[in-house]
């Protein structure tokens, strides 16, 4: 098992803020919009240097999404930012009509995704956003794994012409990817090569998968770990190549088991190469208040859950 260490823990939303700061300096067409959550989205450095390219929308997310669509007319690249819940479910129709169907170059950038925003509870913990966004024709869906990758993804999507949903979060998590990485949309990242089971993880579940990989190794099981940072378009080739070798799969995501990464991987498996698959995901429920660690444990999103799922998948192999 390849050794991954970290010196620092940081929130992925700060990676987004750092990416925006850099974009502000290098791309004059980038415009940031926010619905009264500037501090939470870490936009201060961008706003300080580019006040004329920041649009405060107030608590009016529907307006923010459609204003963003309008800004693209004239060549601007709007980054519409708020919490994942208000960036997707609350404004699904605006995204559908003004952004996706209209083919507008809007970047919907969502913090506080999943359970791990913690104490605010289920009203703010969206677990359906990946599903909603990936169902929209033409929408790219990205869920990076740590601070550095979120920063790199933020910078990369500005150069891609089309609607993007970029998902990140609030909890501090280990930084284990390179600071100078180049983010390639739609290209899965091989975290660790293995032979017994393929673990396809997204977001900060990639770190949990690495922990799981180490535990499995201690028990003599070789896990291949692949970071699916782009859920759509999905790197089917990487998935098929991996399961051809391991003959079983585990998917891990901080999302409802219905409609997320697991279902996307299952479609690839069912269509091309039948192998057993186990899901690590929230079991079709809402979240609740608690600390991020407590919630991850209660809702079955820890390294131990991935280890158990890997063993179940391996046991089902023919």
């Amino acid at each position: 098992m390849k050794k991954y260490t970290f010196t620092e823990k940081k929130d992925t939303r700060s990676g987004f803020g750092a990416g925006m700061h850099e974009l502000g300096q290098k791309n004059p067409n980038v415009v940031a919009l926010c619905a009264d959550l500037v501090g939470s989205l870490k936009l201060e450095p961008f706003i300080k240097e580019n006040p004329e390219r920041f649009v405060q929308c107030g608590i009016s997310e529907a307006n923010m999404i459609s204003v963003s669509a309008g800004l693209t007319i004239g060549g601007k690249i709007p980054f519409a930012t708020t919490f994942a819940n208000f960036a997707t479910g609350r404004v699904y129709d605006q995204i559908r009509q003004s952004v996706a169907y209209s083919g507008k170059n809007v970047k919907i950038c969502a913090s506080h995704a999943g359970l791990t925003l913690g104490e605010d509870g289920a009203t703010h913990q969206i677990l359906e956003d990946i599903g909603m966004m990936k169902m929209l024709p033409g929408m790219t869906v990205i869920n990076p794994c740590d601070y550095n990758q979120t920063k790199a993804a933020t910078i990369a999507i500005a150069d891609y012409d089309g609607p993007v949903y970029l998902r990140f979060g609030r909890p501090v998590i280990p930084i284990f990817t390179d600071a100078d990485q180049v983010f390639e949309i739609g290209k899965a990242w091989m975290v660790n090569e293995g032979t017994d089971v393929s673990i396809f993880a997204t977001g900060h579940m990639v770190w949990e998968a690495i922990q799981a990989g180490e535990q499995l190794e201690a028990e003599g099981i070789s896990a291949e770990i692949i970071n699916i940072h782009t859920i759509k378009p999905l790197d089917e080739e990487a998935i098929l190549k991996s399961i051809a070798k391991t003959r079983c799969a585990v998917t891990a995501e901080e999302h409802n088991r219905i409609g997320g990464l697991g279902d996307s991987v299952a479609q690839v498996i069912v269509k091309n190469d039948l192998v057993p698959q186990e899901y690590v995901a929230v079991n079709d429920s809402f979240g609740e208040s608690g600390t991020p660690a407590q919630l991850m444990e209660k809702y079955g999103l820890t390294a131990a859950d991935i280890v158990a799922a890997a063993k179940r998948a391996i046991a089902k192999k023919k």
Binding site: C57, G58, A62, S68, G70, I73, G74, R96
Partner: protein
């Protein structure tokens, strides 16, 4: 802001209709616009009849406005007298239709203006057409920059386009048309709050006050009450035009609106129109909001409208 009366390039098609108010042959110019409007109204009833679906009422009511905008008032990119479409629309005035169901009107005006071939109007709402039931850039129809149909989003889009113009130091204007029933959508009021706060003064919004919506009179379904007072309270420059189907009054109002641009406030025109205007049996009733005429009704409608530019 530039002088509203002297901002036109000398385009050839437009010259025919361009009516500087200072010019004393304006009567004649208005007459020309009215001829275009009659043809557009013919197109509308024929398109809706052709596919036996669509929304003639609001389309007929807003015909004078859209003809005045596209044939007289908007500064549009043109080459050899023909409009040239590009998505970014830099340096030209933009129009957004928020109440997308009056698409027959927009399609007819765009085609008659020269954005796409007039015969294509015959494909309206049919399979494989670029003229979808509600407008969309998805089908790459020249002149369409955003999808609309789900109501309440167009003013926000127009605000975004207006902000884009400001960032680009582009002093042309953005127009948006909404329905009065559409004012019941919450997002409209998010946008209503936003535009004055951010001093979006290159935006001219128009509400089609025809007093009708699908389920009946707007006052009965969900009363808007005093829309003018509402927009004024939000910080808009509000104008009210009683004769929204009088071409001269519409043109004059659009000149006046433009003269108010650039003064730190967005501009709102409350335009009183008659639903179904121009076809006597369709006028003033919500019944023709979304109903197509039969053969007999089509003939009766066409008998009232001059074929001034040739039917497709």
């Amino acid at each position: 802001m530039h002088d509203p009366y002297h901002d036109r390039d000398s385009g050839s098609l437009i010259q025919l209709y361009y009516a500087p108010i200072k010019n004393n042959n304006r009567e004649m110019e208005i007459e020309q616009l009215e001829k275009v409007a009659a043809q557009v109204r013919r197109d509308i009833v024929r398109m809706v009849h052709g596919c036996q679906s669509g929304h003639p009422g609001g389309s007929l009511g807003c015909t004078d406005l859209l003809v005045a905008l596209y044939f007289e008032r908007m500064k549009l990119k043109e080459e050899d007298g023909k409009p040239v479409f590009d998505m970014d629309g830099k340096g030209e005035d933009l129009f957004f239709l928020s109440n997308g169901h009056i698409s027959p009107l927009l399609y007819s005006v765009l085609a008659r203006k020269g954005y796409f071939p007039v015969p294509e109007l015959a494909t309206f709402r049919k399979l494989n057409s670029r003229l979808q039931g509600h407008p969309t850039p998805h089908e790459h129809l020249e002149g369409i920059r955003i999808a609309s149909g789900s109501l309440g989003q167009g003013m926000s889009v127009a605000i975004g386009a207006a902000l884009s113009k400001k960032l680009n130091k582009d002093d042309s204007l953005v127009y948006v048309l909404m329905g009065d029933g559409e004012q019941q959508e919450g997002q409209v009021w998010e946008a209503a709050m936003f535009a004055p706060h951010h001093k979006v003064d290159n935006l001219i919004a128009i509400i089609d006050l025809n007093g009708q919506q699908i389920d009946g009179p707007t006052a009965k379904v969900m009363d808007n009450r005093d829309l003018g007072a509402k927009y004024e309270a939000f910080g808009w420059e509000v104008m009210e035009v009683e004769e929204g189907n009088d071409m001269a009054a519409v043109v004059k109002a659009l000149y006046e609106a433009k003269s108010k641009a650039g003064h730190a406030k967005p501009i709102m025109i409350l335009l009183h129109t008659g639903m179904g205007y121009g076809v006597d049996f369709m006028m003033g009733s919500h019944k023709w909001h979304g109903v197509a005429p039969n053969d007999e009704q089509l003939a009766a409608a066409l008998a009232q409208l001059e074929e001034s530019m040739g039917d497709y």
